[in-house]
């Protein structure tokens, strides 16, 4: 019963607040008139009507307060007063446009940058993978024990027979599938293009929970029979681009590397395989697979009721089963195994994850600084409004009510900032997508799912929700300190004249302003230290000796699939001759793999003049195919012996050229020339080849990994159809691309030239990730420094305006301009010193998280820290110079009069 009463009452208050208010007013009027009437009556004419009404009011007490209290008691207050407060806030902002603009801009940058970085974090790290129940998906890899001087590896891919053994033995997965991506020349009609595709089995799409948008998935027998009909599924993008989204595409054919494939399905939009870039899905031909041909990734879906931990334990057991089924003949005392990981955990490379989190942390610090700055502005403004606030407190405004009103101001301000931040965030996301380091990450074969990439960064509802929450919290954070401070009940002081407030409140005000400035400086120092380290690291990368001259070089890949081994040398001759004849080209050559690209072949090296090594302990070297003039085209110096000549051809004595590192590693202090070796690839394993030359080291791996031992073979002695052109020209390298294409077309019609890039672009790409993080961190640090300088400026110039009188007296007593300058600048230097020390301590404590991102610089690098201290000192002196000049210009009379 009473519950219903309560409900009815509350609903009324909530739904009809105006009516409730009117009734309260009516009730009070009624009360007052009755009281007045009665008093008039009791006084029998001795009291005028007006006097009676006045007495009734006195008896009643403060009507406004009563209403206010009743309103609050009813719970009505909130929205009602909120609206009032918002109006009030907007009015007061209109009166102070400069303050408002600075504050809104600061917040817009702070919140917008956070939203942009958050979008990246969301897309790369947080957003659920776009598959059915993605948390039930696992990635399973083989583990390889350490071997010779090669470290172990727990991310090895699968071979089909091993996968088959695993699948047969397992009981924890409801579905499992293997896939790998590959490049192929795809022809529709007469148009050929080089695209990425995936080999998958028929369980691939069901495991991920993806249905074809058109047509069907592969049938189980289609991923087995080698001689049977070949089928393919198109990506939505390829279907749109090459078939104009024609629904009648099912049953038509595409030509993949010269073989016709029948189209059986089209993928839904947005899904381009786990590689994130597949145009075609083609069945893996399982029966052609060899146990030691490791090329496939394994993705599996947990059975209902199986926990990831349980599955991981089972996978470990299954690893031994696979190892027993296919024991490695070369390894006696160590075993291959298997390891399972949640697919979500493998979505991005640890380096990418770390960089993004560092950036998120950095941009968070920027926002904190922005908050401190705006809080400072508010404090300055609040002290200007101290009289207003004191008057309001004195006439009976509740402190809580005032705090709420001031908080409303800050929240409204941050809302304005939040709205403006959308523009900043939009722009930021554009920049992130433009900086897109994904391409180079792929080139460097850094781990992670291609399906999760920078291309998927966008401002979505989650990002907007994040921005909204951030906006609100920001408003509270920077509003709370000034609000509490401003309403601190020390009325009497504030009610007296402005300049003459109680010393206590002045010290308190200055202190919290100082604290804010110190915090800003300290945070800015942390950011500066982080970005300084990243810039140093980038500088180190730029200074890395790559071992070749990338300027003026154009590179491009192509594959000859249908030219026989014996006719390839003739093809090389003709092609090189044509390339060299292109106007502007000074030197042209071929190789199989670009420097700084990662992913070149590696194999074992066997010394023929030494006792056979224990199998599995042979040294591992990088192996490269080149034409004889490649070293001179690349300007790789010949250190010893000779380079290849045209005489080193099929049938002639096999020879190899080695890198300096190889010479140093395998023939330390000896002459490597003439040593007999075998190389595990290119037909050089069963034969003995002799070392004829030593060339300078070239970095083939990532730019930050040291050169490794490399062995070069001549294309003429080991012909291959997969190759890359390297042409050095005296003109802009891009300008010779059409000519290169033309020459290839003339010799090998229909063979597409792809991945055409100046070598300088490849070098830049190899550093793009470091550049990406360093650039963003530097931008954040500069913004932070500017904000901190602005904050310092604000505090000091406020201090000067408060101390005008004191300074005037000093000047009157004979202080020189110089001493006044020193006095004020010293205050700034004091702030900077405290903030700087705290910041450096903070930097030393936090820059450790950068360790894995840095190259050739320690997180506690003294040079960087000293440089930052100097930068900080200069900024603060500049920031306090302007108010100091003003202080020095104070005339005694001016101060004494005021």
């Amino acid at each position: 019963m009473s519950l219903i009463d309560v409900l009815r009452y509350r609903l009324r208050v909530l739904l009809r607040p105006r009516a409730h208010e009117r009734e309260l007013e009516e009730e009070i009027r009624f009360h007052l008139s009755l009281e007045a009437m009665q008093r008039e009556h009791r006084a029998r004419g001795a009291l005028s009507r007006a006097d009676a009404a006045w007495a009734a009011r006195r008896r009643f007490g403060n009507v406004t307060t009563t209403k206010e209290e009743a309103r609050q008691m009813a719970g009505l207050g909130f929205f009602d007063t909120a609206e009032q407060d918002v109006r009030f806030a907007l009015r007061s902002f209109r009166r102070a446009p400069g303050f408002t603009a600075v504050a809104v801009l600061t917040l817009a940058v702070g919140i917008g940058a956070n939203t942009a970085i958050f979008s990246a974090v969301n897309a790369m790290l947080l957003r659920p993978l776009p598959f059915r129940e993605p948390e039930r998906l696992m990635k399973v890899n083989l583990t390889v024990p350490p071997r010779g001087d090669e470290p172990g590896w727990d991310g090895a891919p699968w071979s089909y027979p091993k996968f088959d053994a695993f699948r047969r033995a397992q009981t924890v997965f409801e579905d499992l599938s293997l896939w790998t991506d590959f490049q192929a020349t795809v022809r529709v009609g007469s148009d050929a293009e080089r695209v990425f595709n995936e080999y998958v089995d028929s369980r691939y799409l069901p495991t991920l929970g993806i249905r074809t948008a058109l047509g069907r998935n592969f049938a189980p027998e289609e991923d087995k029979a080698p001689g049977g009909p070949r089928v393919a599924i198109l990506s939505d993008a390829f279907w749109q681009r090459r078939f104009n989204a024609d629904p009648a595409v099912i049953g038509r054919t595409v030509d993949v590397d010269g073989n016709p494939f029948t189209i059986v399905g089209v993928l839904p939009p947005g899904f381009r395989g786990l590689s994130g870039r597949a145009e075609l899905l083609v069945p893996v031909l399982s029966e052609q697979a060899e146990p030691w041909s490791h090329a496939y990734e394994l993705v599996a879906r947990l059975k209902p009721g199986v926990s990831p931990a349980g599955a991981k334990a089972a996978v470990q057991q299954l690893g031994s089963v696979v190892d027993r089924a296919y024991p490695n003949p070369n390894i006696q005392n160590a075993h291959w195994g298997a390891i399972g990981r949640e697919l979500d955990r493998t979505r991005v490379d640890p380096i990418v994850r770390r960089s993004l989190l560092v950036l998120l942390g950095a941009v968070g610090l920027v926002l904190l600084i922005a908050c401190a700055n705006v809080a400072n502005l508010f404090l300055v403004r609040a002290s200007a409004r101290q009289r207003e606030i004191a008057v309001r407190l004195a006439v009976g405004a509740g402190r809580r009510r005032l705090v709420r009103q001031l908080l409303t101001e800050s929240v409204v301000l941050s809302l304005l900032g939040g709205v403006a931040s959308v523009a900043v965030a939009w722009w930021g996301v554009k920049i992130l997508a433009a900086l897109n380091p994904a391409q180079s990450l792929r080139m460097q074969q850094i781990g992670g799912l291609g399906a999760v990439s920078f291309e998927s960064i966008r401002l979505d509802t989650v990002a907007f929700a994040f921005a909204a929450a951030l906006t609100f919290v920001t408003g509270l954070v920077f509003g709370l300190v000034p609000a509490l401070q401003a309403t601190h009940p020390s009325l009497t002081g504030a009610l007296k004249s402005d300049g003459d407030r109680s010393p206590l409140s002045r010290i308190r005000g200055l202190t919290s302003r100082n604290v804010l400035a110190v915090v800003e400086i300290a945070l800015a120092v942390v950011l500066l230290a982080g970005s300084g380290l990243m810039l140093r690291s980038l500088g180190n990368l730029l200074g890395v000796k790559q071992g070749f001259d990338p300027n003026g070089l154009l590179t491009a890949r192509f594959n000859l699939n249908d030219v026989g081994r014996d006719s390839l040398p003739g093809f090389y001759d003709q092609l090189l001759e044509r390339l060299a004849a292109i106007p502007g080209v000074t030197s042209a050559s071929l190789a199989d793999c670009p420097p700084l690209g990662g992913g070149c072949s590696r194999t074992i090296l066997v010394h023929r003049d030494r006792p056979a090594a224990v199998p599995g302990t042979e040294p591992v070297v990088g192996v490269h195919w080149v034409t004889p003039n490649w070293f001179s085209t690349m300007r790789v110096p010949l250190m010893q012996g000779r380079s290849f000549t045209r005489a080193d051809r099929l049938g002639a004595q096999k020879v190899v050229v080695i890198s300096e590192s190889a010479a140093r590693s395998y023939w330390p202090g000896q002459d490597p020339i003439g040593r007999p070796v075998s190389v595990g690839q290119g037909g050089f394993y069963d034969d003995t080849a002799y070392v004829v030359g030593v060339v300078g080291d070239v970095r083939f791996g990532t730019i930050d990994s040291l050169p490794k031992p490399e062995v070069y073979l001549s294309f003429y002695q080991s012909p291959r159809g997969r190759m890359m052109m390297f042409a050095r020209s005296s003109v802009d390298p891009q300008s010779i691309a059409p000519a290169m294409r033309r020459e290839l077309e003339a010799l090998a019609p229909g063979v597409p030239l792809y991945d055409v890039q100046p070598m300088r672009t490849r070098v830049a790409a190899a550093m793009s990730y470091a550049r990406f993080s360093a650039t963003l961190l530097a931008v954040f640090a500069v913004v932070a420094l500017l904000l901190a300088a602005l904050g310092t400026y604000g505090v000091i110039s406020y201090g000067v305006s408060q101390r005008t009188k004191e300074i005037g007296i000093r000047v009157a007593l004979g202080a020189t301009q110089g001493s006044v300058l020193r006095l004020v600048v010293a205050q700034g230097v004091g702030l900077a010193t405290v903030g700087g020390i705290l910041g450096l301590a903070g930097a030393l404590a936090t820059t450790g998280v950068l360790r894995s991102l840095l190259y050739g610089v320690a997180p506690s690098d003294p040079t960087t820290l000293v440089a930052i201290a100097v930068l900080l000192g200069i900024s603060v002196v500049v920031a306090s110079w302007v108010p100091a000049r003003r202080a020095a210009g104070v005339h005694p009379s001016e101060a004494l009069r005021g």
Binding site: E27, I28, H31, F60, T65, M73, G396
Partner: protein, 114 residues
Amino acid sequence: MAKSSGPSKSELLKGTLDMLILQTLTVRPLHGYAIAQQIELLSDAILTVEHGSLYPALERLQKRGWVTSKWGDSPTGRRARYYTITAAGRRQLGAEISDFDRVLLAINRVMRRA
């Protein structure tokens, strides 16, 4: 709420005022002014409160479900809001009176001994 007086004192007053209001309503429904009059009358004008403080208290009592209100005609013919005590209000009053009695008893004992 907005008064700068300490919370304990105002809490005590609030509690007492609530009790007095509930007590006056036990006989029959009254409008705000009548409640104020009754309180003055019953306490021989010793317990005087600002009439204004009655209204926030009435809102509070309604929110808790101890009192309901309805508009009706007053003897003067003007519309007035009449407050009625609910069953929950009576229970609450009973509990508060016994609390209050205990406190009074204790105070009396102390005062006599002194």
